[in-house]
């Protein structure tokens, strides 16, 4: 790992260079497309779900290293898990990259694959890259065809504080 650029650690670089489960999944039962038009990250995700289990998962597309590594890691984490576990992983990954580590479920605390992405919480402009595959997964599980993490969907975007009267 290059200490000068901790974000681009060995795990992220490895998954970027040799993405796992890369390619179009034949016989997908669930599919969604993730697109961040402003930065150009673009991926297609396919899953084969049998009963309550993710039997197979594959992705393809072109994106930055953070997005590609995130997608690759995601496929390894979700494969052969239940849909409920997959949803928990989505929520936990989101918590890790937004710096909300206290919200990570016990099952995923100390997950070294997630730990590799923790540095992104210091780079708000890159959070959307890391989370795009996971939101695409969420869309696929929920029956939606598309996902984006730009604009209002960006977890790190500057949000107006709500000042409700009560």
């Amino acid at each position: 790992m290059d200490p000068r650029n901790a974000l681009y650690n060995q795990l992220i670089l490895d998954h970027n260079k040799k993405p796992r489960n890369f390619g179009k999944l034949p016989d997908a039962t669930h599919e969604a497309e993730g697109l961040n038009p402003l930065c150009g990250d673009h991926l297609q995700l396919g899953l084969r779900i049998d009963g309550d289990r993710v039997e197979a998962i594959g992705f393809q597309g072109t994106s930055c290293a953070i997005c590609q590594a995130s997608a690759s890691v995601m496929t390894t984490q979700v494969k052969h898990k239940s849909v409920a576990d997959a949803r928990q992983l989505i929520s936990d990954f989101r918590a890790v990259i937004t710096g909300d580590t206290g919200a990570v479920s016990i099952a995923n605390q100390g997950n070294r694959y997630f730990g590799a992405f923790a540095g992104i919480s210091n780079l708000p402009s890159r959070v959307k890259c890391a989370v795009l595959p996971w939101h695409t997964l969420q869309s696929a599980l929920g029956g939606a065809k598309t996902a984006t993490t730009e604009g209002d969907a960006d977890p790190a975007a500057f949000k107006e504080t709500s000042h409700a009267e009560n």
């Binding site: 290059d2 974000l7 402003l38 150009g40 930055c64 290293a65």
Partner: protein, 414 residues
């Protein structure tokens, strides 16, 4: 002026750098290397102090009070307008309209001229090089009025296709809205020839000078452009202030952009008459301190000398181009023979955002993205580029740090 191998500026670079408080800091433990000047340039101390002096000693509303402070504020504000007039060599100070920036200036012309005088079938000509600020307002006009947007293509190297331009303009062309210098590639457009050809078919010309004003001498009378727009913050001034230059006779005919105080001569509930130029287009209390500080920035760069600045920025560009083009895997986007200090590049197998993040870790600030020029990115076939853009306070060492940063990116992704 410069030795080919060891160029040096014709001004005291160390002293100039010391004028910019922001440059002396560290980012991620490394000295800041600021190469994002095309997005926004830094501000010298003298400009910051001018802003503070105005705000501390003479602030009051302009054009209203009979009291001493208001008169001082008005004098300083109008003297700033005169400074801008001189900077672009406008015939009259009242041809200089203060806006929030170049974007608002384009919108002002779209409203004041376009919505007043243009109609269905009228054609607006822009180029592939345009910033969104010189595309979207015209698209809005097209949508509303049924005007037609025509786009002049560019070559692979980022040069305006002159023959296509000449073929595109004609009797239906009412407005040519074109950039003087491409923000994404640095291409200098032969704007004088563009203007002359447009006038030959009876069209007006708006020049987006946001990138040109800080680097090239602009003479609006010599150019004979109808409108010229630029922003203060790319010229070492504050944000929130910019300029619309317009020919007097056109501005006179145009409708006001916004209604409010200062832009009126007389108001009754039956009828309102508008103030004379330039106030007709300056409704509400203007950004007084920012205008005065912009004038200070113009004086600052003027004291160094625009030609000296241009020569040094060219030396930085040449050095960066030479070093980067000999790096394996680097592809420079935009290789027009006539460029200002902008180097857009792609690195094989690496997304520009990864380049930007790694360089940031080295204390190097560049822009990675679409540069508010998505149609240009589509033309070049890339989602985004990495862009280093130079100002006169940059050094050859900083160019070398950029190249070392690019090598580090290659190493990390090797």
């Amino acid at each position: 002026m410069n030795d080919v191998l060891f160029p040096a500026p014709d001004f005291d670079l160390a002293a100039v750098r010391a004028d910019f408080p922001v440059l002396s800091q560290s980012v991620h433990g490394k000295p800041l290397c600021y190469l994002d000047n095309a997005a926004s340039a830094q501000t010298p101390r003298t400009v910051i102090e001018r802003w503070m002096t105005y705000q501390s000693t003479m602030h009051a509303n302009v054009h209203r009070g009979v009291h001493t402070l208001s008169q001082r504020a008005t004098e300083a504000f109008e003297s700033a307008r005169e400074t801008v007039r001189g900077f672009i060599n406008a015939r009259h100070a009242h041809e200089v309209i203060w806006t929030r920036g170049a974007t608002e200036a384009v919108n002002l012309v779209m409203h004041g001229y376009g919505r007043t005088f243009m109609q269905a079938g009228d054609e607006i000509v822009v180029s592939t090089l345009e910033h969104h600020a010189n595309i979207v307002p015209w698209q809005m006009l097209c949508e509303e009025r049924g005007c037609v947007l025509r786009v002049v293509p560019i070559s692979d190297s980022g040069v305006l296709d002159w023959d296509a331009y000449c073929a595109l303009i004609g009797p239906k062309t009412r407005m040519v809205a074109m950039t003087h210098v491409s923000n994404a590639l640095g291409t200098v457009v032969p704007i004088k020839a563009v203007i002359d050809a447009a006038h030959g078919v009876g069209a007006l010309v708006l020049v987006d000078g946001a990138q040109a004003a800080p680097h090239l001498g602009v003479d609006v009378q010599a150019l004979d452009c109808d409108f010229y727009v630029f922003s203060g913050h790319k010229l070492c001034g504050p944000t929130g202030i910019g300029v619309l230059y317009g020919k007097s006779e056109l501005l006179e005919r145009m409708r006001p952009y916004q209604g409010g105080g200062d832009m009126i001569a007389q108001v009754t509930f039956d009828k309102t008459t508008y103030n004379r130029l330039p106030y007709k287009f300056e409704a509400g209390t203007p950004a007084i301190a920012n205008a005065i500080a912009l004038a200070s920035a113009i004086e600052y760069v003027g004291a160094i000398g625009l030609s000296r600045i241009a020569a040094w920025e060219q030396a930085l560009l040449d050095y960066a181009t030479r070093l980067l083009s000999s790096e394996a895997g680097v592809r420079i986007l935009g290789t027009a023979p006539d460029k200002i200090g902008v180097v857009s590049f792609a690195l094989e197998g690496v997304h520009p955002h990864d380049i930007g993040s790694i360089l940031d870790g080295e204390g190097i600030a560049i822009r990675a993205g679409h540069h508010c020029a998505q149609p240009l990115m589509q033309r070049l076939g890339v989602p985004a580029t990495a862009r280093a853009s130079f100002a006169f306070y940059n050094t050859l060492d900083e160019v070398e740090r950029l190249v070392a940063g690019v090598r580090l990116v290659k190493e990390i992704f090797g």
